[in-house]
Every structure is written in C-alpha cells, then in structure tokens.
Amino acid sequence: MDCREIAPYVEPYGDGELGPAERAAVEAHLTGCRACQERVARYGQFRHLLRRQPREAAPPELRARVTRSIRRSAGWHALRRWAVAPLAAAMLIALVTWAGVHGVGPWSTSRPSSLIADLVSKHATYAQIEAPVEFASANSSEVRDWFRRRLGVRVTVPDYAPAGIRLLGGRIADTDGHKTAYLLYEKGHTLMSVFMVTGERLTPAGTASMTYRGFAYHTADVAAQHGVFWAENQKVFAVISSLDYESLLECADRLRMDRGEDQRL
C-alpha cells in the first residue's frame, strides 16, 4: 500500500472498523511513513475532541414518565387499592377450566357462553387499567347525559348510593361488534361492573337460573366473581362483582325498575 491507497482506510482504521488483514496492511505502511502517521494522529485528535463533548442526560422526569407508561401499557402498573391481582389470577384459572370438559359454577353443567366470558373478562380488565372509565362522575344524570351525547341513546344509570355503592363513571366498549355501555361502581374496595350490550342475545349455557322479585335471571360464578345476566328488548344486561348475589340481584332489580321509569318518561 502506498500513501494514496491508504487514504480511504485512515478513518476506518482510527474507528477500529478494519478487519485483521486490512489493519495489518495499514500498520505495515504506517511504520515507514511519517506523513501518514501524522494523518492518523490528526484524525485521532479530532475524534477525541468530538468524543469529549458533554453528553446531556435525559431529564429524570422523562425517565419516570417513560417507565410509567411502559408499565401501564403492559398492565403492570402499581396495584390499585382494591388489589386486582388475585382477581386476574383467578380469571385465568377459570378460563383454563372453561376450556376443559367440566363446568365451573356450582350449578353450571356446561361452558358459559362467550358473551358471558367476555363480559367477566372486561370486568377484570377494566379493574386493571389506570383509567377504567372514559367519563368519571359520581352523578348519575351527568353520566347518563354523557352516554346520550356519545351514543345518541338513553342509558339508564341507576343510583345505588343509598346502598353504599358509589358510581365511578362510564365508558363505551365493544362486545363482539356490539356497542356496550359500561358503568363502574365501587362499594368500599370492591368494584362492580354493569354492562348493557345492544343487539346481542343471551345464551344461557353454563348459567343457573334464579328468580328474584318475580323476574328470572341467569347467574354464573366465574373466577370468584358473581355475575347476574338477563336479556330485555334485544339487549343483554350484566351485573358483575365479587359482592354477594343478593346485592347484585338487588342492583339488577333496581336497574330494571329505573329502565321502566326511563321508558315511561
């Protein structure tokens, strides 16, 4: 190699990017050429100047924000105060059981319908996420107005406050392509979800029947959660929580009464 041939190799040599053979050829030339030695040294000094430039670190708030957002999107955020982790684990056990031959509930004889599975899964999922409601309000009429604006239909939003069950808000969900109004309530540290699925039919497989105040409901126990389901006017309703059945049936009954009132208005 002469000085002209070595020129394209000077920078890759200084960057440590040459293979052993090329490196050896460059070094062989350098031992006998003072001009090229100076060239390599000059390049090295210039590179050193660039390398010692202050390198700004990311602001600590950015690091915290990014970490939080990743954990949140992984559903890995800090556990909420109603401790949903056991619920999620129980959900999985139940889903695995459904895949088997045997039913899960104390009364069930077959696998619950996919609609019921979907709603219970939504109940568990919404409990996990940071902001489970799109519109947060404890005021029933505000939430009802929000649904009317968003969906263009009247959604009955029962007020369970006298029973100590507080409204947290609402969101619009999708259940197998069907618009679903979702209401979230809280009693103490226990969540309760109320779903209204439009244009869906209830398949009662895997559920038990229970009559409460003269109306027949379907019930299913899934993953330590109780579910009360019924269908009315081409809509499916569900009340899901780990609260006792009596409370859920009372809530279901109240919702049906309020709907009757709303429809008369």
């Binding site: 954990r71 559903g75 890995w76 999620a88 999985l92």
Partner: protein, 188 residues
C-alpha cells in the same frame, strides 16, 4: 400465564431498552431542536418499540433498532405536519462538490486548531451540517456507534455510512475552522 408474562416483557424491555434513554434523548434533541418535542418524541418512540418488542429478536442490536424507530417516528410526524414528503429535503440536502476547494489553502496545524475550539463550537458546527452527514457523525463520533449499528439505525448500506462519515467530518472540520477564522484566531 398472561399477566405475569406481560410484566416480564416490561421488565425485560426496561432492562435492554431504557439503558439507551440518554442517547435517544440526545438524538431526539438533535432532530427536533426543542426539549419538549424531544421528550414527546422519545416517549412515542419507546411506546412503539415496546409494542413491537415481541418481534425484536434477542441478539440483534437494540440501540440501532431504537434509533431506527425514533427516526421513523420523527419523519412521520414531520410528514404529517407539513403534509408533504419532507424526507428528501431533510435528509438529502446537497453539499457543494467543491468543498475541497473551499478548504483553507494551508490547513490549521492540529494543536493550534484544537486550542481554538471553544465550548459550544462543536454543537454549533454540527447544527450547520446537512442532516444526513450530521447524524452519521453524531452516531459515530459522539455516541460511539459502530458502522454496522449506524447502517442499521439509518437503514442504509455500510458503504454509505462510510462516505457520509468522511464527508461529514470534513464539513465539520471546515465549519470549526470557519469559527476560528471569524474570531481571528487563525489567519486567512
């Protein structure tokens, strides 16, 4: 189990990707030249990277992969903002071919030259470089990327990296010489 595996994925992502947060932030700062926008850009790029983390193969270069995403998010934002393809203008800026003629007849002796470089000069000189050269020089000489990593990050062949680097360094040196001459440290 679904939930714990998602948690593991987040933990793994934090371990392999977030170690590059500082470099990504600096990269974003150079692209946006605005701190708030740089933070948003990094956050969006990392969110996308996390969503695609399942496709990321262990053993491939994480840092280069993250820079590719950062750069693509930035370019997409730029296109949306301007509603016109901007990449050509942004990355393919023409550099005068007669650069060699524009260099001072007698290059400043290196030690003398290094004495003239004051705080902020390198940054200012880098800003004056066309983006395609600046990003190659920054990734190699400031961030310490290998040629292969730069090629992956910029999605171009290694030969292109080498020519951009060489030309970028010459432009940078030329700009720094210009600052020194402006201050009268170096004779014309």
């Amino acid at each position: 189990m679904i939930w714990p595996s998602v948690g593991r994925r987040a933990a793994e992502f934090e371990e392999v990707a977030l170690v590059h947060l500082d470099a990504l932030y600096r990269g974003a700062l150079r692209l946006t030249r605005n701190r708030a926008q740089a933070e948003d850009l990094v956050q969006e790029a990392l969110a996308r990277a996390f969503r695609g983390f399942a496709q990321f193969r262990a053993g491939t270069n994480c840092r280069a992969w993250l820079f590719t995403i950062l750069r693509n998010v930035f370019l997409n934002q730029l296109r949306r903002e301007r509603e016109t393809p901007h990449e050509v203008e942004f990355f393919e800026a023409r550099v005068p071919d007669d650069l060699d003629d524009a260099r001072p007849a007698a290059p400043t002796p290196e030690e003398e030259f290094l004495q003239t470089v004051v705080h902020g000069d390198v940054d200012r000189a880098l800003q004056s470089l066309p983006e395609q050269f600046r990003e190659a020089v920054v990734l190699c000489d400031i961030e310490g990327f290998s040629y292969r990593e730069i090629a992956e990050a910029l999605e171009c062949p290694i030969g292109t990296v080498m020519s951009r680097l060489s030309r970028g360094r010459r432009l940078l040196r030329h700009a720094l010489d210009g600052f020194a001459r402006d201050r009268g440290y170096v004779k014309e």
